[in-house]
Every structure is written in C-alpha cells, then in structure tokens.
Symmetry: C2
Subunit: 277 residues, 2 copies
C-alpha cells in the first residue's frame, strides 16, 4: 500500500503518515512525499498512491484552505479516517535569542506562535517558507536566523532548541484526514463530513441548520469558505456525528442536498477522540 | 490624519489606503506603511496612526486569519468603514513562460491563482513571500523566476506581464476594513460586525442563529475561526444588516451577548456595495 503525504521529511505531515502506517499492521507500506497538497491529491486521484494524508484543520490557525477547496471542488476522493497530531512548535537556531535577525517558517506555525513572536520578536523580520523543514534548512545556513518547527528538525539540521512549546495554546492540535479514491464502506463509521452551499437569501443558513435540528443530528463543526464566485457567497463544511448508513442521517442529507445547489459528501469514517497522542 | 496600511508599496493594501485617502476630501492625510498586521494594529491602538487599513477577507481565499484574530482577541479597535478592492493578479517576470523555474508570491495570491498554477506550472517550485512586492523584487533579481501580483508592480520592478487576470475567478475581490480606537458613532451605519462563541453542545449554533431569526435580522456573513482553546471549539464572526443604534438590533445583540461567554461588537459602519471599483 502506497501512502502519499506532504513532504519534505521532518514535518508534522510525516508524523501523521507514520501514525497511519502504525495503525495498519500486517500491511506493507511505502510512504511517498509530495511537494504540494494539489499534487498529492492528484496522485491519489490517479492511483499513483492508494491514500493521501492531508492536513485539514489546526486548533489555532483553523482550516487548511487548499485541502478544503481541493476536497470540495477539485477531486472525487473520500475521507476514510482522521488522525489528530499534537503540535508542539519550537524556536530552532544556530545562534542565541538576542542575535536572531530573521525567523523562517510556514505561515501556519507563524500563526500558531503569533503571541510568542509579538512578545519576543516584534522587530524581527518574519519570512514565510513552504514548510517547516525548509525553514530549518534556511536557519542552518543563516546563522543569524531561527526557524519555527517540530523538535525532530533540530537533530536533522543541527539546530539548537532555544524555546519549546511556543505555540499560543498548549492544546495545539492538527487534524489530518486520509483520503482515497472509491474506498469500501467503513463498518464502524460514526462521523460524516459534508459540504454544501445555501441561497444568498436572508435566513438561508439558519433554515438549512434547522434540518439538522429536526433530525436531532449533532453538528460538531461548521466552517465557511468562499464559494469562489462573488464576495459574500459561501459554502459550508459541516461535520456531523453518525454514519451515512444511519437512516436518520440518510434522510437528513437527502433534504440538505435537495435544498442546496452544491452538495457533496466528503466521507463517512470513524472519529478519533482528542487527546490520544 | 495618519493612515496605517500593510506595506510595502505596490500591494493591494496600498490601493485600499489610497481609496480611503480619496474619500477624505479636505483632510491632510499621511500614509504610513507597516511590515505586519499585528504591528499595524498595535500602531492604531497606541495612537501612532489614527486609522489602520486591514485586509479582512478575499472572495477566493477567504478570511485573513491574522486580522480576524487580532480584532477579536488582541485589540480594542472598532471597524468604521469597509473598502472593496477588485484584485487582478498577473504573472510578472523577466523571462518567458517556458523558462520559469520558480514562482514567488504571498500565500493569498498563490491560493487565488491555484487553478492557473496547477494547469500551467504543476512542476514549478512555488515559493512563499511576505508580500507581492517582495515577490516582484525576487523575480527582478532571479531571471528564471516569476512573481504573482498586481499590475503596478511590473513598472516598479521592470518586469514583463506574461499573463493578466490569472485569478481563479474574475470577480476576485478583497474586502478591507478601516479600524480606529474609540471612533465617534457613524450616523449612516447600516452594517454591524460581531464575534461570539457558543457552547460546545449539540445545536448550540443553531439556537444562537435562531435569535437572529426571531428578530428578522439578516446575516450577510458567518465565518468560524478556532477559539484557540481546544480543537473543536470555535468563535463565529457574523456580519448583519443594520446599525447597533437600531432598537431591534440592540435587543438582539443583548440576547446574543447573554447567551455567549465571549462576545464583542467589532464595529458598526456603512456597507460598501460590491462592484463599485
């Protein structure tokens, strides 16, 4: 079985792929790194890999736009599993705190550490990189700089850990999903992810949510994203408790689909409880 | 009057600041560029500038996390105005299409041009920069690269425009807000922005939205963001039609405040209609 993930090595995406590998006992796994989320999703779509491990949401920084938009609009993969990874960010450098002139990292960790950065480095240049591993590579070359990233990058790039756990909240967690093309149904599924639009009319979202209320269905998440048409038109990513095989949910989703012009079931899978890492 | 905006020059933020300046006839305006959204918000908080022009939402890429989170959690500024800017992205380079090895830009334009990039440059390295102006500066130095950004950067950095209007949707618009400390009330206000949390209980959001339904208040936008506590806890940014001086809205917001543990009025101001640019 080939598992695709967002490279390069040393990032939290690789950790998530390893966690998936461990959960698959008795299966020969080959892990393949991809340079971007769209290329990873395309590889799962074409059968180049059997599963894609995709970051979808962080507890501090929110939804991962590219993953959400690709799943909604650009592919026909289904979510088969979720993986939660506790994310601890560190300040990694060759130098010490007071000599840092530049800090490299991916926009997600920069957002996750915004209070730490505002407090300690309000006048230091912040430079976006494509991954935390790339940030560490830059910090290894430029000795008056630092990177934000996972602990494992310190060893890999011979950097010192100047500060640990610098994310704005100690509960910082990233949720990954495993997406496959035409997966078989999952017997123990108890969570379903959907995406739909609503009319741009007063009360339209409220009316749509009232359908879930009628069926007593628990919405564990709602996230809006632009419909990519005009400003003010949105689609809603909703996670609900229950499987699409439950008759109650089947009937609910039939009505949601009927009342929207864009509707897609992103997957029905087993929920992972927070705090297991 | 000092207006702060997100620099460097040549970005869409500068365009928004210029649009604000034009709307203030008979006022002496000085425009001041800041390197980051938090530093710009801090400057407006301390009185260093009288107003901050902040990007808050793009029709393709969605909310600007830093602005939303700063307005909700980190400052006591109020929104006094919104400014809509039509955003046309271009491919800017010293070389021609087939010789491009790298494309530089800010994550927002990269997201806005995702389909163009996937179609034409699926194997080209994409490099994040802190602004479109920085991307143009890099593309001017590295002749086998290109930048994504506004037309005005072509002249400024002596780059050729290889492709125009490459955003995924021609309606691409960024919404900016003007935020001030302790602004006087705005007589013609007809739009109000608020942020609140809901209990992490089944149906809690639906119940909260039913308050707006009871008062017949039109919600023009709802956006969820992490509450920055644990995964699965959210705050909701909601824009409604009407001013906080309307009795109907005053009563509605009183109940929303009573039913939430976190509630903040971000501002009440005049709505700008889409399509004026």
């Amino acid at each position: 079985m080939k598992i695709g993930y967002l490279g390069p090595d040393g990032t939290f995406s690789q950790l998530a792929a390893s966690k998936l590998e461990k959960s698959l006992s008795n299966v020969d796994v080959e892990k393949v790194a991809y340079a971007s989320i769209p290329s990873l999703i395309a590889a799962a779509g074409s059968g180049e890999v059997d599963a894609a491990v995709l970051p979808i949401e962080n507890s501090l920084e929110g939804g991962v736009n590219t993953t959400l938009d690709c799943l909604a609009f650009e592919c026909d993969l289904s979510i088969t599993k979720e993986i939660l990874i506790k994310v601890r960010q560190n300040l990694l450098s060759k130098t010490d705190m007071k000599n840092i002139k530049k800090i490299y990292s991916h926009p997600q960790p920069i957002g996750q550490c915004s209070r730490f950065l505002a407090k300690n480095f309000s006048n230091v240049e912040i430079v976006y990189t494509n991954s935390t591993a790339q940030a560490a590579a830059f910090a290894a070359k430029d000795t008056s700089s630092a990177a934000l990233g996972g602990e494992s990058l310190a060893d890999k790039y011979s950097l010192n850990i100047l500060a640990q756990g610098i994310e704005d909240n100690p509960g910082n967690t990233t949720r990954f999903v495993v997406a496959k093309k035409n997966p078989p149904p999952i017997a123990e599924a108890d969570k379903t992810s959907i995406v739909f639009n609503v009319d741009n009319k007063p009360g339209a979202l409220f009316k749509m949510l009232s359908i879930f209320d009628i069926f007593g269905i628990n919405m564990v998440k709602i996230e809006s994203r632009p419909a990519k048409t005009v400003l003010g038109e949105y689609v809603f990513f909703v996670d609900i408790n229950g499987s699409t095989k439950d008759e109650n949910i089947e009937r609910d989703l039939e009505i949601v689909k009927y009342k929207s012009t864009f509707f897609k079931i992103l997957g029905t899978y087993k929920e992972e409880k927070n705090g297991r890492d």
